[in-house]
């Protein structure tokens, strides 16, 4: 912070501006503006290219679950089922990952031996380094087979909850499997954000709690968690943003169908991102344009979630 202020105030004496300064400052500024232009370009180009199919669409784009745009006359398509699937997968991932991520962050900051903490944090970061296509390969070849017996148990004992109603998919390629892999993928993001805020808890607060005779858990509950809450929420929302847009793991694991189904142990549902990746190679007619329209919807959803997350995180800074 101090560096910026001082460099901003340390002006060159008045008089002629050097050519080098003008060029360098101008190109730095230009690069910044270019980024804004790219982002604006993403929104406008997607909008422009999606208009033709939206104009020709004979179904309702927002409420229809059909997807039949690969024709030159009377295309019918809608994103209702896709939006449902996208949000469902992200929610499963969020519900599974957030508690574990908070646990890991607490472990690294307050429980692990001090010398091991950095290494353990690095190991968790490795989860983020693994490409999503490898997660997909591992998921579809190895994990879904291992999960099958577990799903059988879920159905037997928890089948009365509609979410876990049978019959269980024989392949295991269900929404729950996809959500589980997404949960693993967003774990590092939520952990990293939580870890950061947990480390920033003022030492005075923690020591005050301990001095009053609090156990370690009571100290965490009274001093750490209230302080860290906005950061954890922000991290969870960033993780959700990642889960919403994640493509390959879902595309490879889920056996899709365009229905709105709340049954997590049966095959079905589909997310926007995975749908685009699977449909694009076969798209014809209005197909590409319709997929771009679906991508625009995904862009809008993730933009809203991410901006919300940034807002939550930045509000914490003012609060402290």
């Amino acid at each position: 912070m101090t560096t910026t202020d001082s460099s901003a105030t340390a002006r060159i004496p008045k008089g002629k501006r050097r050519l080098g300064d003008v060029v360098f400052a101008g190109s730095a500024r230009g690069a910044g503006i270019l980024i804004l232009l790219i982002l604006a370009g993403v929104a406008t180009f997607l909008l422009i290219q999606s208009v033709p199919s939206l104009m020709a669409n004979t179904g309702n784009f927002l409420t229809s679950t059909e997807w039949d745009p690969n024709t030159n006359e009377e295309p019918r398509f809608g994103v209702a089922a896709l939006i449902f699937g996208t949000v469902l997968a992200a929610l499963i991932a969020l519900v599974l990952a957030t508690p574990v991520a908070i646990g890991i962050a607490l472990f690294i900051v307050y429980y692990a031996p001090r010398r091991l903490a950095a290494i353990l944090g690095y190991v968790v970061d490795l989860l983020a380094a693994i490409p999503s296509v490898v997660y997909g390969l591992w998921g579809v070849v190895y994990l879904v087979g291992e999960l099958r017996p577990f799903y059988g148990m879920l159905e037997t004992y928890l089948g009365w909850i509609p979410l876990f109603a049978g019959p269980v998919s024989s392949t295991g390629r269900t929404m729950l499997s996809a959500g589980l892999v997404l949960a693993v993928m967003i774990l590092p993001i939520i952990t990293a954000m939580s870890r950061d805020v947990f480390q920033q808890v003022p030492q005075a607060n923690r020591e005050a709690a301990l001095a009053l005779g609090a156990t370690r858990w009571e100290m965490i509950r009274m001093a750490v968690l209230p302080f860290g809450r906005p950061g954890v929420i922000g991290g969870a929302m960033l993780g959700m943003g990642r889960a919403l847009g994640e493509t390959m793991a879902v595309a490879m694991i889920l056996s899709p169908s365009l229905v709105i189904s709340p049954f997590l142990l049966q095959s079905g549902n589909q997310t926007i991102a995975a749908h685009i990746a699977l449909e694009y190679p076969e798209a014809s007619g209005f197909g590409v344009s319709a997929l771009i329209a679906a991508g625009l919807v995904l862009f809008a959803i993730t933009l809203a979630v991410n901006m919300g997350a940034r807002f939550v995180v930045s509000r914490r800074k003012e609060f402290v």
Binding site: T3, V42, Y111, A112, L126, A129, L244, T247, V305
Partner: protein
């Protein structure tokens, strides 16, 4: 206060005569107790499962954890007190969370290595898939490696100047609305789904070249959309770490601002900047979705020209082989083997980048503050 808690504690324990000696602390479990209890629980659970004939590493681990948590809470409630018992329970759960996160990492890495080494050899790395028909026990990833190098190389060449200059603007020059807007939208841009970055280039290409054009350049541009914000973020942090004293010393000698940045600020931060760029590269090198849309999925020949025709890359190669896994007989088996070997190649590349990044930041960082 202390005596009150101690009295209730010993009252709750309710055995033997009340403690009179130690007034400063209540009774506690010895330090060696939790690990020994854990080992005992593991032994008992594994023994029971073997006796029942249903031993499985996963179920054994889960049951051990559950039995341990119950045992430690009971032991702590009996010997210590309720609050300590809660503390021990939470400690156990927090440790479990970490172990839980390690399970997929270890499982994934071992699966990839065990399955990948079957086909991972010099032949696999040095031939393409040109002319390989599905039933042939042949083919490799050379064309995909070439494609990955070309595409990520161009993406880096675009992202590093733009990202670095933007970071310089934000840290050294920026003020007011434009700076705030850039900082905010770079954050927003980090959250763009990779598939949307791919669609952006598809839309752009349709407007410039007409529909159906796929090539390496399109893939590189879509990757740079994903890479730029990461580079900006990390470079920004590194530039902020450069002490103001260095800049001021340079200004005091009459050095222009731009030369100060080029000759003083950037060299001081170079290790951190390199690390950030390598981590950004490690992130985009595994991106699949945008390349499926922009660089095509069906190329089998070696193509090093980014402006002409489809270009294969390592992640897309894995995806392509996974799609071919469903075919019957040997063809499916060969595809699966190729997919695992390519996954091993990709993971090795990413891990090497990660490791190199850590080493650069460890050994080449300037020693400040002395």
């Amino acid at each position: 206060m202390t005596t009150a808690t101690e009295n209730t504690a010993t009252g709750a324990a309710g055995d033997g005569p009340p403690l009179r000696t130690a007034s400063m602390h209540t009774r506690t479990l010895p330090g060696w107790f939790p690990p020994v209890l854990l080992v005992a629980c593991a032994a008992v659970v594994s023994g029971a499962l073997f006796a029942l004939g249903s031993f499985h590493p996963a179920s054994a681990t889960v049951l051990t954890a559950l039995v341990y948590l119950i045992a430690i809470v009971v032991a702590s409630a009996v010997v210590e007190n309720g609050r300590k018992a809660t503390d021990r329970l939470v400690t156990g759960i927090v440790y479990c969370c970490f172990v839980l996160a390690m399970v997929p990492l270890v499982s994934l890495l071992t699966t990839v290595v065990v399955n990948g080494v079957r086909r991972f050899d010099l032949y696999f790395l040095s031939v393409s898939m040109n002319g390989v028909i599905p039933s042939m026990d042949a083919g490799g990833v050379y064309h995909a490696i070439v494609g990955t190098l070309v595409i990520t190389g161009i993406a880096t060449a675009i992202s590093v100047p733009v990202g670095l200059l933007t970071a310089i603007y934000v840290v050294e020059y920026g003020r007011g609305r434009l700076k705030a807007a850039i900082t905010f939208f770079v954050d927003v841009m980090t959250g763009i789904p990779s598939i949307v970055a791919g669609l952006f280039v598809v839309a752009l290409w349709i407007m410039i070249f007409g529909p159906g054009q796929t090539n390496g350049l399109a893939g590189a541009i879509s990757l740079s959309v994903l890479m730029i914000p990461v580079v900006v973020r990390s470079s920004e942090e590194m530039l902020r770490l450069v002490p103001a004293d260095l800049r001021e010393a340079s200004y005091a000698l009459g050095v222009p601002k731009w030369l100060t940045i080029v000759k003083v600020v950037l060299p001081t931060a170079v290790a951190g900047l390199t690390t950030g760029i390598m981590l950004a590269l490690a992130r985009v090198i595994g991106e699949t979705a945008p390349l499926i849309l922009t660089a095509g999925t069906s190329s089998t020949r070696i193509n090093a020209n980014p402006a002409e025709g489809q270009m294969m890359s390592l992640p897309v190669f894995i995806y392509q082989q996974v799609r071919a896994m469903g075919s019957s007989g040997d063809a499916g088996v060969f595809s699966e083997e190729r997919a695992w070997a390519a996954a091993l190649t990709l993971i090795l590349v990413v891990m090497l980048l990660f490791l190199a990044a850590r080493l650069v930041s460890r050994f080449f960082s300037p020693k400040l503050g002395r």
